[in-house]
Amino acid sequence: MIQLTSIEKVYRTDTVETLALNNISLHIDKGEFLSIMGPSGCGKSTLLNIMGLLDEPTTGQLSIGHQEIKQFNDRTISRFRNQKIGFIFQSYHLINDLPVLDNVELPLLYRNVSGKERRRLAAEALEKVGLSNRMQHYPSQLSGGQKQRVAIARAIVGQPEIILADEPTGNLDSTMGNEIMEILEQLNRADQTTIVMVTHDENMARRTHRLVRLFDGSLVSSNTFVN
């Protein structure tokens, strides 16, 4: 599903050059639930951003669903992201000026789906994450766990093949974290959605199919779990 080949990411300033990712090659199968761990600053989020086409590698190749991404322009990348990928961020990244329903509708807004259909699908996604009674609330009126559920609903509303989750439980207590993890596991099982999750929590990582570890921008190990 996702193929990274010899990916490098270098950040340059006038005086310093930082190697954030060093020669990363990784294959992720369709329907796989992969977790990425490593100390802070080791390049986990950078790797996830590159997989999500939010950032570009300095060198190396990225293919998603057998399509090489290099020759895509802004518009094609936007469409690709919109149709194939759903994001879940540690800090939720909801638009505070919009109510929950409108936040969840967002990916559909860029697919020319009719307003009525958007509302129906968004309501359905919110129901899946158990928040159908909060549709007209604003993000500021929700708890951290509820916000993350809204973010999950937004990520799944367009039925993407891939979900990229950057520390989705990082800001939550263990109970809330468990609930979020259960939703992700359910998505992976029921819809065969490929999920890549960055986490600091070893227990959460052990619930996924495979754990890869990064250290100083390099991939240092890969463990497969039988769940």
Binding site: D74, S78, R79, I95, D102, E105, Y110, R111
Partner: protein
Amino acid sequence: MLKNYLKITITVMRRRKMFTFITLFGISMTLSILIVLTAFYEHLFSTNYPEIHRDRSLYATVLEEVESESGGMRRGPMSISYINKYLKTLKTPEKVAFASIPNTVNTYGNGKKLKLFFKYSDPVFWEIMGFEFLEGKAFTQREIDNNESVAIINDQTRDDYFGKGLPALGKTIEINGQNLRVIGVVRGCPITRMVVAADVYLPYHLQKRDPNNQDMNGSYYAIVLARSEADLPAIQREYFEIVPRIPLQTYGEFKPDRLNANLSTYFDSLVQDTFFRTGEGSARTRFYIFISLFALLFMSLPAINLVNINISRILERSSEIGIRKAFGASSWTLVAQFVIENVLLTLFGGLVAILLSAGFLWWFNQSGLIDYADLTINWTVVLVALVLSLVFGLMSGVYPAWRMSRLPAVEALKG
């Protein structure tokens, strides 16, 4: 999509009250001033009551007798004899009328002192103008031939002199020591219609001096009515062919050798006399250039200010840009969103401006600063205001939106 943008615009407006206030204040005030100025322009120059044929009329308002050697000049309105000889005899016009410059007189009526403007005219004046008669009718050549002492007054004078709402027809009004029989009452017009506005209108034979004045200069304007607007240049040609051949008079030591005369549309006669009296070229062209430059400068200041405010406002929303990009918005979609937001905001400012101007014009009309003021917002002005709002929206929205849409998604998400 548009509904979503509208929702965001309203939320942002409500959330950023100070920003909204500054933006709307800038746009509304600028547009209000432009709308009010346009209303004043229309009030001054367009075809209005009672000058209903202004679009096919020419105005002769001034004669200039010049002595080249000394540079001396006599300048002013014309005498009746000049108008009769050189303007009433023109072949191309449909009608030629004359009316004097307004004079003031103090009189007493209804127990109070009244300061009135009065004006002399010929009967043709009443044929060209579209005065609405509330009582009676206009004087004709018959009253002049019979040397009758008659007057036409406006409704304000009737109310002040005879008492509010009381009929004035057949009653006597005293002007300049003459007792005049009121034969008509007209609905008044604002003083800004300078050629026609007065409180009392008298037939020209009642003027003691001018009917026999053989000088070129006097106290009259001529109003020349064409059969159609297309005839105006032909009338001007005919008159300007005559002017150089008019024999000049000497006044003691002053021996003029050149005569300058005007016969122009209302706009040109007013602008030429007021702003560009001695300049060469078309007064209208220079007036429009002057006004356009003023409007452009006037509008560009708030627009530049808005660009600045918008950049910082959009910067504040970089996280939103990142989110939208992550979920499929292309750079162009984002440009469209921010431009639409801005256009909606400025259109709203435009609507506020229309309301503000309507309020101001209503107040002005009621205030009595100009009697009979009839300033209005017409649809052309509204349309101009809306187009200006759109231009504002685009001017102040496109650049910041374009700049922000280029921001890499990952950078934008960091906020």
